[in-house]
């Protein structure tokens, strides 16, 4: 709306210009806009271009027996307690389905553009830059809003609710497994990989194909598997 739109009376009632203050406001505003626009290009792009994780868990569902050892050792390593609810790797079993569809193992994918990281309103869930960019939840920062749990597009969600601490947790490749007794994380031990009695879980540094969920399901069967006459069906 310009001054021309005002009628004669309104124009007569226009408040004084106050040019000095007006100029100050204009320059302050323009400086602010310019500053933030320039800053947006200079900001560290840690969230806009999320660095890839340098490690991933892959599984062989044909080998998994559903024993739950990985779940137990996961909660033991992270919480010092044997609890399937606190495990960051989950196994689902369907007693009515036929092999190999009767067991489903759900490890975190350490996604390329992790939605759980994007959803976190306080940047508690983020790639740990100094630890191989593993997507980790900083328990000190987490406010328990559950955005990340719902943001994970897989079922079951690869981010779990810790009912004791009222915070979210997820697989960190054992980077922060206080009770593990060994050096964990990328370059170290992954408890589930180590204890799986049938070697159905493996650690890899090669990022699986991000356009297919089943790219995390690989063939970990060796010669012995076939020598014993087990199925080679994938």
């Amino acid at each position: 709306m310009s001054i021309d739109d005002l009628d004669e009376k309104e124009r007569a009632m226009l408040e004084p210009e106050n040019p000095g203050r007006r100029k100050f406001m204009l320059f302050t505003g323009m400086a602010g806009v310019a500053g933030f626009l320039a800053g947006s290009f200079l900001l560290p792009g840690k969230l806009e271009a999320m660095p890839d994780s340098k490690g991933f868990l892959v599984v062989d569902l044909n080998k998994c027996q559903g024993c739950g050892s990985c779940m137990m050792v996961c909660s033991l390593g992270h919480h010092g307690a044997a609890s399937q609810s606190l495990s960051r790797i989950q196994i689902q079993q369907d007693p009515f389905a036929n092999y190999p569809d009767d067991v489903f193992m759900a490890p975190c994918h350490q996604c390329e553009d992790a939605p759980c990281v994007q959803a976190c309103p306080v940047a508690a869930n983020r790639p740990a830059m100094e630890l191989g960019n593993v997507r980790m939840i900083d328990q000190e920062r987490c406010i328990g809003c559950e955005q990340c749990i719902n943001a994970c597009q897989f079922t079951p969600s690869r981010v779990q609710w810790d009912p004791k601490r009222h915070k979210a947790q997820k697989c960190d490749l054992c980077t922060d497994a206080l009770y593990l007794g060994e050096y964990g994380g990328i370059g170290g031990t992954q408890a589930c990989v180590k204890v799986c009695p049938v070697n159905a879980i493996s650690f890899t540094i090669e990022m699986p194909d991000q356009s297919r969920e089943d790219s995390y399901q690989v063939n970990l069967r060796g010669k012995g598997w076939y020598a014993r006459g087990f199925s080679d069906k994938d």
């Binding site: 739109d5 408040e15 505003g29 996604c111 306080v122």
Partner: protein
């Protein structure tokens, strides 16, 4: 509604709706096809500088608009209560604020669970929240800019200064008189006591909300101590609920029958169009205001 005002309202609404539309598709955006690891495009993550720029745009806007002083139009038997800038400013905060509140509540506040069924809906709501926040920040900083340019208008809202009556007493008597419980009456200035208190309450909610909101956005690209982040989150949520309670009072009390002429003026539907209230109504509701306008010679 005033034609110019309607035009601006339609343009801004169009931009708002278009931005929401982009937010919807952004929430569904999957850069390399369906599959794992595809994150929705969250405005808060990818455009975290935008709310800050919006604040400065509001300041620029304030430097570009001129205020018209309130005056009595004798021929038209009307009084200019809200000039165009006041109306634009009010609605630029109010309408996005409602969207911000609804989207914020739907995303979960304190004990109110999040109402979204999946991640995509959450992302869409976050994008709606973002768009409305940007609009609201333009409005809020436009308001601050206008106060810097014309502090007199700010003082009109603030109780206890300039020999004003005790706002609590004035508000109490005003409503008791309305309810027919006392014959005593008060002679309010432009804003009666309860309106001045309501203004203080609105600002007491908005300032912490805006500051904590900036912290939440800045946490996307700057690492604050965890305790500070937590405190800011709690502040944001607490004052969201406080603002909801404020609006529950504000909306009915500003559209009540006795003040409806004021509401029509704010919408731009008052007598003769934009921002005017009938002179007789103003004399009855805000007698001291009319006296002051006459004393200052603001009569045309």
């Amino acid at each position: 509604m005033h034609r110019q005002g309607l035009r601006i309202f339609l343009v801004l609404s169009g931009v708002f709706v278009a931005a929401i539309g982009v937010g919807y598709y952004a929430a569904r955006f999957q850069p390399t096809g369906r599959g794992v690891g595809q994150a929705p495009y969250l405005f808060f993550d990818h455009l975290p500088w935008m709310p800050f720029v919006a604040a400065f745009l509001g300041i620029i806007l304030s430097s570009m608009t001129r205020r018209v002083a309130c005056y009595i139009d004798r021929d038209g038997e009307r009084v200019l209560r809200f000039d165009f800038v006041a109306r634009l400013n009010h609605w630029l905060i109010a309408l996005p604020c409602i969207v911000v509140i609804f989207s914020g509540l739907a995303l979960g506040v304190f004990f109110i669970p999040r109402l979204t069924p999946d991640g995509q809906a959450t992302a869409f709501l976050f994008n709606i929240h973002f768009v409305a926040v940007v609009f609201m920040l333009v409005g809020f900083f436009y308001l601050l800019g206008n106060w810097v340019l014309s502090p007199r208008r700010l003082f009109a809202f603030i109780p206890f200064v300039g020999g004003k009556a005790n706002p609590i007493y004035e508000g109490l008597i005003f409503y008791l008189h309305r309810a027919g419980l006392t014959k005593r009456t008060v002679h309010p200035d432009k804003f009666e006591g309860s309106e001045q208190l309501a203004f203080l309450m609105a600002m007491a909610c908005l300032f912490p909300l805006v500051i904590s909101g900036f912290f939440k956005v800045a946490a996307r690209f700057y690492e604050f101590p965890a305790g500070l982040s937590h405190f800011m989150n709690l502040t944001h949520e607490f004052f969201t609920l406080a603002l909801v309670f404020y609006l529950i009072m504000h909306i009915p009390l500003t559209t009540a029958p006795w003040i409806f002429a004021g509401f029509k003026a704010m919408v731009g539907m008052g007598k003769g169009g934009g921002g005017y209230v009938p002179l007789d109504w103003a004399k009855e509701e805000n007698p001291d205001w009319i006296k002051h306008l006459e004393a200052e010679g603001k009569v045309k």
